[in-house]
Symmetry: C2
Subunit: 419 residues, 2 copies
């Protein structure tokens, strides 16, 4: 059995890698044509996608998945139309392939030029959200990469039909056969096989919960881009505009508490805590946010729940916020660099010096002054769709658009030069 | 014992990570001052370095190291002066830290700016060449990174004294204490500990033979940049200038056969093989190069040794060259993409169409037309010193200068924007 899984997954990766060589040379026009065909196929084949999804939903209910999980799993005609629109949006993005990174002439007359080329074959390991299937395939193809996907067991029927419709439409529109591979094996050993295939797979991007990401980071010999875990902070300086601070905190906590750019901890300078904390708590309560405060917070607002050490290291993904009073900005910076996940951090201040110091000293992908952490997102940053938000430092950091799916190649033009 | 090694290495990494926070904020002038001080320290302390190196050389002779290994290990006054000059050259390079990568204003008025920042803490695992100690420390400090080095047992006494002199000089000149860490434990478990410290170490760069690199790639949960393995090819097209081809092949094979950008296999179009191969073989023999040819080659030049399948996958690192006759360029490209290590590949041709096709279809860091593969090198590419040559696609590809030791950070300037 294990041998079979190994053979099946390896053959899929091999076929995709082979296809990637031709795919890398397609023009933007050819790739865009395929993306439009794929969008169209999703729309015309909506009924059979919905049918497969109903089976997943039924299984999910029997397995006792939570309402939130079931909602993530659910497909509707509207959600499928959104997937199709997403593919068309990807078609409209600038193609980074072939763009120059640098170009210069050396003293010996050699012309050296460096351009963007596709990575080759990208592995995506994800959980129960079927929309990832269309997004990931679209972004990989647009950037000239083949893709091998392995989705979670909860959405296996939906993902299988989606991937098969998309692969077929892509191939019919001129994408090399085999460029889109979906691993149907839900056994975990399929993931183990993928993580060893560094001969064929150039990078693995895990999308999902912290457990999945940790397992891939710790076990993959294929290079990995870590995504998604967000323990984001907002530091309210003693020079802050308190109205602005409240507005930004409410936005960052309540608009979509489940996403990674939502705020989890607010740090308040002690100089304004007596005045600001009660105001903030009142506002948060009207949004039904549970507050867990440090000891000093509980002294000011005795009805708060006391935060434990664990709270500072927790991504709630829910309407819960931890709040801590700090003696100065240095303590806030230390706290953030210690407990943050390197995602998005913000300072609210009217002091130029503090803003500059915060941005220099906080070690994260995105460091904000006077704005909500919720903006860390490919669309909001102006990159169009994103394949994820990198919280590591190598290769890509922050929202990953099409450029993050490329590597580079040096082209050297000689006239017989030797060294 | 294992627990001790774990504690010692972890504490070193922790101290270096702590220092990296301050180091990241130093100006170029401050970092350059330290590099000059380090260069000066190497020169004034040459006698004690030579003394330590003599002990390593003695151990090496007793262990029966090869003459080539002993030569790599050997330090002389002149070689130490070269190390010092290397540090001064690094001081003269442009500092990438703080350089802008992009900057734009979003429709909601948010200004988003992306700049280069240091990676943080870089781990270097290397073998018996003591000059790597000075190079790596210099490049890491110049790019604002702390560094933890672990050298091979053969050079342990030389490397320990070098690292200690450099760390002390750096600290005296204003580099934060702890920024340069040298792991003195030669037991392999010290490497195992480093490879698990992804909480502190941001990237590991292995420098050495294929065995070391494979072990690190397969076992490290810290992200790795693969370097150095070079199975480079030169394809001689039927439209090639044969004199130029000969000159380039001789250069690429014989000037420094042990380095990774030396050529290992020559592919010859069958259309010119009858004429070109005998010419090439004669020339190569005058340089004492052993030739291993495919069957067709042996038919043309019956005194050639027959190549085995293993030859096509071997980095000789020596005056040995494998030669294969191909029926067309497609076969050459397939051979290269199959056996190449993604390092440097060249075509010799006067045909525009073939040059373009070769550069598009060959998947390697550097693809040359009519020039020697020996140019793949940080200095030759105009980047100054290099920390290695990446043969992977993620983060960095080809010669890695200072920019390869940086990551990026988004700075967002708001006026109260919410989403």
């Amino acid at each position: 059995m294990d041998l079979d899984i190994n053979t099946i997954v390896t053959e899929q990766a091999k076929a995709a890698k082979k296809a990637s060589k031709k795919l890398a040379l397609l023009s933007s026009a050819e790739k865009n044509k395929a993306l439009y065909a794929m969008a169209h196929a999703l729309e015309t084949k909506t009924p059979i996608i919905l049918k497969a999804n109903m089976l997943d939903m039924e299984d999910g209910r029997q397995k006792g998945l939570s309402a939130a999980m079931l909602d993530r799993l659910l497909l509707t005609t509207e959600r499928i139309a959104q997937m199709a629109d997403g593919l068309r949006q990807i078609a409209s993005l600038d193609d980074p392939i072939g763009n120059g990174i640098m170009s210069h002439r050396r003293p010996n007359g050699l012309d050296i030029r460096c351009i963007r080329v596709p990575l080759g074959l990208i592995g995506i390991i994800y959980e129960a959200r079927p929309n990832v299937t269309a997004d990931a395939i679209g972004l990989c193809l647009k950037s000239g990469n083949a893709v091998i996907l392995r989705g979670g067991s909860e959405a296996i029927k939906s993902n299988t039909i989606l991937a098969s419709i998309l692969a077929e439409a892509a191939h019919s529109a001129g994408i090399p056969e085999g460029a889109v591979q979906f691993v149907k094996i839900t056994d975990h050993s399929a993931v183990d096989v993928m993580m060893r295939l560094n001969k064929y797979i150039d990078v693995i991007i895990p999308r999902g919960g912290a457990g999945l990401i940790k397992r891939v980071v710790e076990n993959s010999i294929v290079p990995v881009i870590e995504t998604g875990v967000g323990i984001c902070h907002i530091y309210v300086d003693d020079k802050a505009n308190m109205d602005m601070a409240t507005k930004i905190i409410i936005n960052a906590k309540t608009t979509r508490p489940a996403v990674c750019n939502a705020v989890e901890t607010v740090l308040i300078h002690q100089g304004i805590a007596n005045e600001f904390l009660p105001l903030l708590c009142e506002k948060l309560k009207s949004y039904k946010v549970e507050i867990r405060g440090c000891e000093k917070c509980c002294q000011i607002c005795p009805d708060l729940k006391l935060a434990t050490d664990e709270d500072w290291a927790t991504e709630y993904g829910d309407l819960i916020l931890s709040v801590k009073i700090v003696t100065d900005m240095d303590e806030a910076i230390d706290h953030i660099n210690n407990f943050g996940s390197g995602h998005s951090e913000a300072i609210i201040t009217d002091c130029y010096t503090n803003a500059l110091k915060f941005q220099k000293n906080v070690d994260a992908a995105a460091v904000y002054v006077n704005a909500s952490t919720r903006f860390t997102d490919g669309n909001e940053f102006g990159f169009g769709a994103e394949i994820g938000i990198s919280t590591q430092k190598l290769h890509a950091r922050g929202p990953m658009g099409l450029e993050a799916l490329t590597t580079m190649k040096y082209l050297i033009y000689g006239e017989g030069q030797v060294r």
